[in-house]
Subunit: 416 residues, 2 copies
């Protein structure tokens, strides 16, 4: 894509009301637009990153057998009343409104209840189980305070997944597979080494347990406790004397670290399905409630965490797997014709225009173009200028490195 085809512009200054690094950089580089506190729109570059994250997550969820669906934002009060979660006292982040006819509707902050209710139309026998389904959807949550840029929003894009099993054993098998799939997702985005699975509220000691995936990150809202041996990580909620005693470990052997929650998984047991009438008949014909699991990854939050974790003082640094483009081609004075030729060649090759952002702007200086390339954070920068041509071709530099090298124009295609 040509830079001149993008309607967005980069900015030197971040908006003054934006205190988080992720939102500052994403707005300055033209990835997102702030609609109001905690609500952002995705500009062309931002949507490409979101789509790349969705693609990776979708592939991993597909690999464990999940099928994709899309639930509605408007939700039925009746369904949530069955589980006592309609009341604002039970759930304090609801957005609600009224239909013309007067009855209340909710706006999806979660889809656990509607999905369970929907599955009840399709599952009736043990032969219909196990099942696992997921969706990508924007959740709406009436947070008191929106902060941390796109890491905590009033509206955000989430991948939520639900597993349905006949018993705890099958459920735990799916729960483990989902854990592995989640870890694969973080690994594919370069977050593997700094992302920990922690036991969360409920704890491993109760039937209704959950785990969080926490990425070490100074901008994170959570604190996790990492054991010096590196293998045991505890969530703040369960980091107490009772847990430590049960595990036989000492408080002083843990380091407190800031972390951002990039995923969470829950075991619900059978209660919710019982409340919502999702029952199956077993081989003997007995009616039983389904065993439910719920698995979330904040897609837009993950985008914010990636910025927080990898950005440097010059701008964003995307991992290759989610970058909006693989390469950023910069045409400078004296190299315009050759850059144009290369871009056209790339267009015609199997390496599609989707994969290269071509800075063809004629009214920007070399300094401005370099600053924008650093700010936007595409992994590979290719510069064609009089100087680079004199030196023998294109100057190639990784966003993560300071050193560049010259390669012949003819080798550029092979490089990509």
């Amino acid at each position: 894509m040509r830079f001149t085809e993008l309607f967005t512009k980069t900015r030197k200054e971040a908006p003054t009301d934006e205190t988080s690094k992720n939102a500052q950089l994403l707005i300055r580089a033209g990835y997102i637009h702030k609609e109001m506190a905690g609500v952002y729109s995705y500009l062309p570059l931002g949507l490409r990153v979101i789509n790349n994250i969705k693609r990776i997550v979708g592939q991993e969820m597909g690999a464990i057998g999940s099928t994709e669906i899309l639930m509605s934002t408007l939700q039925n009060k009746d369904i949530w009343e069955k589980t006592q979660r309609w009341d604002d006292k039970a759930v304090d982040i609801w957005f609600k409104s009224n239909l013309k006819a007067g009855n209340e509707v909710g706006f999806g902050w979660s889809h656990e209840e509607p999905i369970v209710a929907m599955l009840a139309s399709h599952i009736s026998s043990y032969k219909d189980l196990p099942r696992i389904v997921h969706q990508f959807q924007n959740k709406l949550r009436n947070e008191v305070r929106a902060k941390s840029g796109i890491i905590r929003c009033r509206e955000f894009i989430m991948k939520d997944m639900y597993s349905f099993a006949v018993d705890e054993k099958t459920h735990l098998d799916m729960y483990e597979k989902a854990t592995e799939a989640y870890l694969n997702v973080y690994k594919k985005m370069g977050l593997g080494p700094i992302t920990h699975v922690t036991s969360a509220s409920g704890g491993v000691f109760t039937e209704k347990f959950s785990h969080e995936f926490q990425t070490l990150c100074d901008a994170g809202e959570d604190t996790i406790y990492v054991h010096k041996n590196g293998t045991l990580v505890l969530n703040e909620e369960i980091f107490n004397d009772s847990t430590l005693a049960k595990l036989g470990v000492k408080k002083e052997n843990f380091d407190a670290r800031k972390a951002a929650e990039v995923g969470n998984i829950f075991t619900f047991g059978t209660k919710k399905c019982e409340q919502l009438g999702l029952l199956f008949s077993d081989a003997a014909g007995t009616q039983k409630p389904v065993y439910l699991g719920s698995y979330g990854i904040g897609i837009s939050r993950l985008m914010g965490v990636l910025v927080e974790v990898f950005a440097d003082d010059k701008g964003i640094v995307w991992p290759e797997s989610v970058a909006p483009f693989r390469a950023h081609l910069v045409a400078l004075e004296g190299g315009e014709a050759e850059a144009d030729q290369l871009y056209n060649k790339l267009q015609a090759s199997s390496f599609k225009f989707q994969d290269v952002l071509y800075d063809d702007r004629s009214d920007k200086s070399a300094g401005e173009k370099f600053a924008d390339a650093d700010l936007i954070g595409i992994p590979l920068r290719l510069v064609v200028s009089r100087k680079s041509l004199e030196k023998g071709g294109i100057e190639v530099k990784k966003r993560t490195e300071n050193e560049s090298k010259i390669i012949p124009l003819t080798e550029a295609l092979d490089l990509l």
Copy 2:
């Protein structure tokens, strides 16, 4: 995909509260789930159709230079007040709610105002124009009465596109290109011959004019007037003596036909951009408001119209371009092993599992499988049974035809 991997089930009977053919068939076949009146979720088969329609529309919009973005559902009251469209008296389909801090927020029923306000951060000079952007988003509209299944919903998926130009001439050029792109979309879905462009409210005689794309369809909510010569089609709103006199045509030469609106395009002139501060400086440095166009296609509505137009008394009939799968492979008694082999071969070939639905259910009769295949409406049915093998291979039948033919197993791959 194997049928046994789908969690959805087909039903013999439609829900009694669903009077439209499209919702009846889509629910019976397991494409959608009704959350409440006018609100549906998309099951795996349904989401595949939605994604196919989005792909076609996205390609055509990309071809006229549009870039994709994604706006938020939560909307800022301030922006809509600037154009006097926040008030329920001006727009009677708003869903509104309150943030915790007390201020009102709206839920996107349209994105014209927020997109114009957003573009004001990125457009300042005539050099930044023209631009065209689009998104796929779910719109929320507080309709008094939801009817016609997924043709008129309280929540629906829309492709909305916006064009920004320096003057009327450039605008009209984009408006014409968009018209062509829209007609290509309908053509690609087999609706070309029955879809008409009609002048709508405002009419061609005012500055602020619009056009509708109307598909002839008994379930449509609109009436259009088609001239006997076939080239002139008028919308009900402007089918009056004054228009007829201006065009020099006679009332009696028109036939009234039921039609469903599958797209609409608007010329807004410069007023909205003036109200929202989207200005540019021209070559002489003078500040001028941008010329705005707005272009909508209801993605989920289009899915409903396709069902209404093509379905027969046995079920849905999808055009190839939007069908959830290209082929429906049915294994019957005596042909299970061969069907399995063929499915595995298809999986391993470049023809991916995405392209074939394999009815591998062992607890269904031939009659049930045939009925389901007809109900689901995939274009090509392949049956492998003892009988077909005795006759020399696979029985191949198009959904639109009654006659089948036998082809050797080895030719099945070539066929696809």
